[in-house]
């Protein structure tokens, strides 16, 4: 049974399509990768699920179903509560994702207390456990600190702890390591994988990096121009990519065995093919 199902989602800014008939699903406990070049609409999918689309962008059709509940059919107020209780976000940039004028502790516990109705004491205990779990030394001190007193890696650990705090069934991680140092990136990636496995959380992992995908994902969605090109199991993807664009993407990804081969860009012809595919889709759906 899939925990998150997106069916034929279309979103536009004005007349311009941003998402074109996007369908994807994440099963309970599954890690799904979402890859595509910059501007492909990866973040927009995450935002659509979490209900944080920019006001200029409108969902024109399609369904987003979270554990059997159709989010589009709900009143905004209920939708926010359902999302807050069942899903969470690990953001891209830990430097801007913590409120600089609030202490760290309340930023982890606020959802538990305000949205889920925990007692302050329980929430506090839970937060300390989680900080311990994400390997933060001196959790009590960190809880009382302001974000600017902590390093980027520490803050990302805090955000991970905060995302897991309410035991959500789905976590969306939008390029959670791109803003970090290379050495820290590896640790954080490992931590996310560990936490996901331990808590059995479904994870939608947005990234550019097929190397990362191969390490942590079980399934993969390839996106281009807001359109899903391929939706497959991870083994199948690396063995025999179904779409020419996927194949080109794979060829363009650095390989540890042969660094020289990694410099091949996605060929023009492949891009043209994908563009033609998207134009055909737009004609069919009445966009010019």
């Amino acid at each position: 049974m899939s925990f998150l199902t997106i069916e034929n989602l279309n979103a536009e800014v004005g007349p311009a399509p941003i998402l074109r008939d996007v369908s994807l699903s994440v099963a309970a406990g599954e890690v799904r990768g979402l890859v595509g070049e910059s501007g492909a609409g990866k973040s927009m999918i995450g935002k659509a699920v979490l209900g944080t689309l920019p006001s200029a962008i409108e969902i024109s059709s399609g369904r987003i179903v979270l554990e059997g509940e159709d989010l589009q059919a709900m009143r905004p107020r209920d939708r926010r509560r359902v999302i807050g209780a069942k899903a969470a976000l690990i953001p891209q940039d830990p430097l801007t994702a913590l409120n600089p004028s609030r202490r760290v502790g309340p930023q982890i516990t606020d959802r538990l207390v305000d949205i889920l109705g925990w007692t302050r004491h329980d929430a506090q205990t839970r937060a300390l456990e989680l900080l311990d779990e994400v390997q933060i030394p001196e959790p009590e001190r960190v809880m009382r600190a302001y974000p600017h007193e902590l390093s980027g890696g520490m803050r990302q650990r805090i955000l991970i702890a905060s995302a897991f705090a309410a035991e959500p069934k789905l976590i969306i991680a939008d390029e959670p390591t791109t803003a970090l140092d290379v050495t820290v990136q590896k640790q954080i990636l490992k931590l996310i994988k560990q936490m996901q496995a331990r808590h059995g959380t479904a994870l939608l992992f947005v990234t550019h990096d097929l190397g990362v995908v191969s390490k942590i994902c079980q399934s993969l969605t390839v996106l281009y121009g807001g359109k899903v090109l391929e939706d497959t199991r991870i083994g199948d993807f690396f063995a025999r990519p179904a779409h020419p664009y996927s194949a080109a993407l794979l060829a363009a990804t650095p390989k540890y065995t042969d660094p020289a081969a990694s410099l091949t860009p996605v060929p023009e012809a492949v891009i043209d093919g994908v563009r033609a595919e998207i134009e055909a889709f737009d004609r069919m759906h009445g966009h010019v």
Binding site: L50, G51, T52, S55, R77, R80, R81, I83, G84, A85, A87, A88, L89, P91, Q92, D93, T96, A97, L98, N99, P100, S101, R102, Q107, D110, R111, D114, I115, Y146, H148, E149, L159
Partner: protein
């Protein structure tokens, strides 16, 4: 450590500024062509009387001598004697200061309340017609100074729909049991809400006139900085936690958006205090500003000096307080 250095540095610049103000006022006033002594004397007074009076007020000495005498007096808390009322300047000024302070603070509170509400409403309604309406109203309120708003309020609420008093500080018929001149404050302490209501009915119009331009500035700046803050990641993250728009604006965005607005409120508050001079005149409110205009018209040199120095002192203190509040509120500065 940094905080103490900051305070000391500010106190030093404050001292220099105040000294500069003192020098300028002192010398500007003494260029006065009209002779204040002549105005005090009954017609037909002789040269002798003039000389005696001049000696009494120290006006027979050279101007630099007068300045040294005056300044050493000031440093000991002696601002001289008012020529028109023959009372000590310090006592006179201090008796009026509470009225002006109460008026300014009430105006500030009104400005923050209106400006804050408009900014929050505008942010909540961003992209709608209501936001546009708020912007237009802000632009109007900003373009027109307190003096004109005062006149407009007099017309609206003094004549067309007379619900507020437009003249004085308190109804003369009331018996005031107060020991200080902080009437508004003391009336609350003594639980005399009848007097309190009367004071508010008198103070509301001048305070509102002073508050309107400041409210517009606060609304504009706070809304701007709220809108910028609303795009930041931690605000988005808070939305995904299940919080509604109101919570997100007031709890997440507001604390961070307030900081840049705060420094500006400080500077603008000194402008507001400066505005009390004419607004008190307009509403016949018995404060420092009203007294200042009388003093200038009567050429009461010691009194003018005292009032101007006091205003400059208030300005400097307000700036200092704002600076320190800013440092105290900003966690980055506090721990940096």
């Amino acid at each position: 450590m940094t905080l103490i250095r900051r305070i000391l540095l500010r106190l030093l610049t404050m001292a220099i500024t105040l000294f500069g103000v003192a020098v300028i006022v002192f010398f500007v006033i003494r260029v006065v062509p009209g002779n204040p002594i002549a105005m005090m004397l009954p017609p037909g007074a002789g040269e002798e009387d003039i000389a005696r009076l001049k000696a009494l007020y120290g006006l027979d000495k050279t101007i630099p001598e007068q300045f040294v005498i005056w300044l050493s007096g000031v440093l000991q808390g002696d601002f001289g004697t008012s020529i028109t009322t023959r009372q000590p300047v310090l006592a006179l000024v201090l008796s009026r200061l509470p009225a002006t302070l109460e008026l300014s603070v009430v105006a500030l509170v009104i400005a923050v309340a209106i400006g804050g509400t408009l900014a929050l409403t505008g942010t909540r309604m961003r992209g709608t017609r209501s936001e546009g309406a708020i912007d237009v109203a802000n632009g109007m309120a900003l373009s027109v100074p307190d003096f004109l708003w005062g006149l407009v309020l007099i017309l609206l609420f003094g004549v067309l729909w007379p619900v507020f008093h437009i003249s004085g500080r308190v109804s003369p018929s009331l018996d005031l049991p107060f020991v200080t001149n902080f009437y508004l404050f003391e009336s609350v302490l003594r639980l005399r809400f009848d007097i309190w209501a009367d004071l508010v009915a008198h103070m509301f119009m001048p305070a509102l006139a002073l508050a309107i331009p400041l409210a517009a500035i606060i609304a504009q700046l706070l809304k701007q900085s709220l809108k910028e803050t609303m795009h930041l990641d931690y605000v988005t993250l808070s939305r995904t936690k299940g919080y509604g728009e109101n919570h997100v604006i007031t709890r997440e965005a507001l604390p961070n958006a307030v900081l840049p607005t705060l420094t500006l409120i400080g500077v603008q508050f000194t402008f507001l205090i400066g505005g009390t001079v004419i607004i008190e005149r307009l509403f016949s409110y018995e404060g420092l500003g009203n007294m200042a205009i009388d003093a200038v018209i009567n050429r009461d040199l010691p009194l003018i000096q005292g009032i101007v120095i006091l205003f400059a002192l208030i300005f400097s203190v307000v700036n200092l307080v704002v600076d320190l509040t800013y440092a105290a509120l900003n966690p980055r500065l506090r721990h940096g």
